[in-house]
Subunit: 474 residues, 2 copies
């Protein structure tokens, strides 16, 4: 049992070790593409279900648009093609011949979807159009990291059309709060800061990009999900117009929004420790692992199986680890590495005492639980762990968020990646560029509504117009 | 309200009309790729859930492998590359440069998966490996038909590894019966014939291909899903070996199996009629549509809403069609076209009489149902429709299946696509080719275990060695 790289001293190596050794994912033969293993995919499926439920509960329907996009279709929206051109993969041959027109593997689907909406949107009665798709996307990645930045990723992308700009903006914010922030906090136990991106960090073609930003355990930021207000540019670029309530022709307003498999990386980096992964029960493929201490003794094996059945009946996701060729100590090590929230040990002495031993992943205390109290105790413990992980991550983030007014302090704090710096900002891209050049940090987000920052921009000394949160980011 | 092409006289045009006008899917800008619209995607999601539940219940886990496959990896299994070379789409440029090695967009994932299994399979303890993935795949299609043959399609592909050939064969058959045939019959109400493919119809590289074959309403066959026993060829081609129970090195045996979005087309073609789609309740996005006859009258609107809520509480998928700018007659027409199993009409006279009017999609009788009996009656009716559709499709198939011993009768029956011909077959590919040349028909399947066909091959007169079912196919 070799140990993980140091959580404290070399977080990136720790992350790679955990992803690989907890069998979440690994690199494939194609640079930047990953293989998602069963344990990692099970986390993604649980997360996907939670997102999908909320996407549907907010009135959206799922659709599916093609993977391949003719280059000329992508080219019709100037900002989009410019933003994504350096990252696209291009199919130039198919069916044994060179294609007349190359096809781009979708980096995102605004182009293909809005060129189709031209057929679907004719009247104000067709609006709003509230569609989402679950799909893969490809953006060529030169510095890949499993889950966080991969050439191919899995995601959902919502693309909606509205009668008014106000409705499209409201849509972006509904998704931000009721879908993304809610899943990230209540399911992934990952506290997020909802906000607006500065112009330089917006999605290509967007008038406003909203984001949820989370702090990882190395105090760097993860952009957890984004939603965009796209104005009517896409409608104009793709010739989408409709007859309004007033009988005249109008262009609909657009929003788009996406959350991806990178969130699995966010879970790893939000809650791990030196022993490995720590999974929130809501996305743990196994919420409880039962380890029979002497699985070769039939009374122990039977008691363990009965307990597994009882917990499953109570709706708990249970793994019964009956392997006889692996020692209990090795099992404890493995399931701790894999972040299973609770472990139940069943041994001869436990049975004689009428109890089992409970060990929580979020603590080291061994607790004896009377056998008939196990389902109730597990129910409590899972709830406590879910809430505890969120509270702990929030307290970590708050401890590493600092209100800063002075330039020198700001630059030092950010270049050492000490956490989130909250400062006044004058609104100029020049100051952003200066900070990035000196510290590698960027504005993670501005407040949702512009707020009086109560002082001058620490970078240039000009009056502050926005309150900005800065950090080094993934 | 223009009518559909004739169900009786021009089934292919009827199919295209229904798919388009019921808003299931439409063609996209990329030849052969389709856009799946919300109503079509909702059917796919329901079907997907049913397949996924059974895939997991039979012990499989989901994973995800990359979309792009290096050409050299695909090339390592000779039959596979030869079989798919004419159909693949190839990425030759990415990230702004020409790639050193072209990447194939997956037509199927045996190559990429088995090259990875080389790392995962070391000991007999790692077997069986029972993995499945939900993914898109691309096979260049020159004669596309929505859902049935599309350049890009959605599917699940299972890829398993086993210690013995017998286990790999048993896996293929488990999937065939407990996953595919079960979903197709009990969910899609589509009776299927499980069988073996002849050598000429096998998957490239397979030693045995098993299939479920269904009869569409034009008496043509749809290959509904296939599972393959692949021997140890893939393990050898990709260098996969393990230390067996005997301490020696062995190659594992492989199975693979897939079912795709073509099944949505199968549902359309199994149950439609001249009015459009007829959906089995198990995959109907709306099992019941409620049409208030005078939605502008508040007592009617309220009664309709209350009934919708009551049915939803009972677990029924309900659509309440409150649109005021569409006349009831147009609504009836639309929901019949879309195949909603049951319609409830709520009018002033209904309310006065304390009942609602029920109209089933599988009949024309109008039935008055007392208001408090609605949930129980709907529960019965949905069950009856689900069973009725299956019984009806089975009786249709049986009426159009004929045991044939004479060559002339066989050729006439098949060239007119009168249905399934069951004949003796001598086992020669030459006779298959003769039949195909004369009638366009192929062997859809052989019996699962070779059966004495009780007579000579009608094509060549040589002794029969197999019992074959022939038909024209999609």
């Amino acid at each position: 049992m070799n140990t993980l790289a140091s959580f404290e001293l070399d977080f990136p190596a720790w992350y790679s070790d955990v992803v690989r050794r907890a069998e979440l994912a690994e690199h494939s033969a194609v640079r930047g593409s990953m293989v998602i293993r069963p344990y990692g995919y099970a986390i993604w499926e649980l997360l996907q279900r939670e997102l999908d439920d909320r996407i549907k509960a907010t009135g959206h329907e799922n659709v599916y648009f093609p993977l391949l996009i003719p280059q000329s279709v992508l080219a019709r929206e100037g900002d989009l093609v410019e933003g994504f051109a350096p990252e696209v993969a291009v199919v130039t041959e198919a069916g044994g011949s060179v294609l007349d027109e190359p096809l781009v593997v979708r980096p995102t689907s605004e182009a293909t979807i809005w060129s189709t909406y031209a057929r679907w949107i004719q009247s104000y009665r067709d609006l709003p159009l509230l569609y989402n798709q679950w799909a893969n996307a490809v953006r060529w990645e030169l510095r890949p990291r499993l889950f966080l930045r991969t050439t191919e990723f899995l995601w959902q992308e919502g693309h909606t059309a509205h009668e008014t700009a106000a409705e499209a903006i409201a849509e972006s914010l509904t998704i931000l709060h009721r879908v993304y922030a809610d899943v990230q906090e209540s399911v992934l136990a990952m506290p997020v800061l909802p906000g607006r991106k500065s112009a330089s960090e917006r999605f290509p073609g967007a008038r406003e990009t909203f984001t949820t930003e989370a702090m990882m355990r190395d105090r760097k930021a993860l952009q957890a999900a984004t939603s965009h207000y796209l104005g009517d540019e896409f409608a104009r670029a793709y010739g989408v117009s409709y007859t309004g309530r007033d009988g005249a022709q109008h262009h609909p307003y657009a929003a788009s929004w996406g959350a991806s498999s990178r969130l699995v990386g966010g879970v790893v980096m939000s809650h791990g420790d030196s022993r490995g992964l720590k999974l929130p029960p809501a996305v743990a493929p196994h919420q409880v692992v039962i380890v029979p201490i002497t699985p070769e003794r039939s009374e122990v094996a039977e008691a363990a199986a009965a307990m597994a059945a009882e917990l499953r009946d109570a709706g708990v996701r249970v793994k019964l680890d009956e392997r006889q060729h692996v020692r209990p100590g090795a099992k404890f090590f493995e399931w701790e590495l894999k972040g299973v929230p609770a472990r139940l040990e069943v041994g001869v002495r436990d049975l004689a005492g009428g109890h089992v031993t409970l060990v929580r992943r979020d603590g080291d205390v061994r607790e004896e639980v009377p056998r008939d109290a196990v389902p109730a105790r597990i129910d409590d413990v899972l709830r406590e762990i879910q809430g505890g992980l969120l509270a702990d991550a929030r307290s970590f983030r708050d401890r590493h968020t600092r209100r800063i007014a002075e330039r020198e302090e700001m630059m030092g704090f950010l270049s050492e990646a000490q956490g989130f710096a909250v400062t006044a900002w004058c609104g100029s891209a020049e100051c952003e560029a200066t900070v990035k050049a000196e510290t590698s940090a960027t504005i993670r987000c501005l407040t949702l509504e512009p707020e009086d920052p109560g002082g001058p921009c620490p970078v240039c000394g000009q009056p502050g117009t926005e309150l900005a949160t800065w950090g080094q980011a993934y």
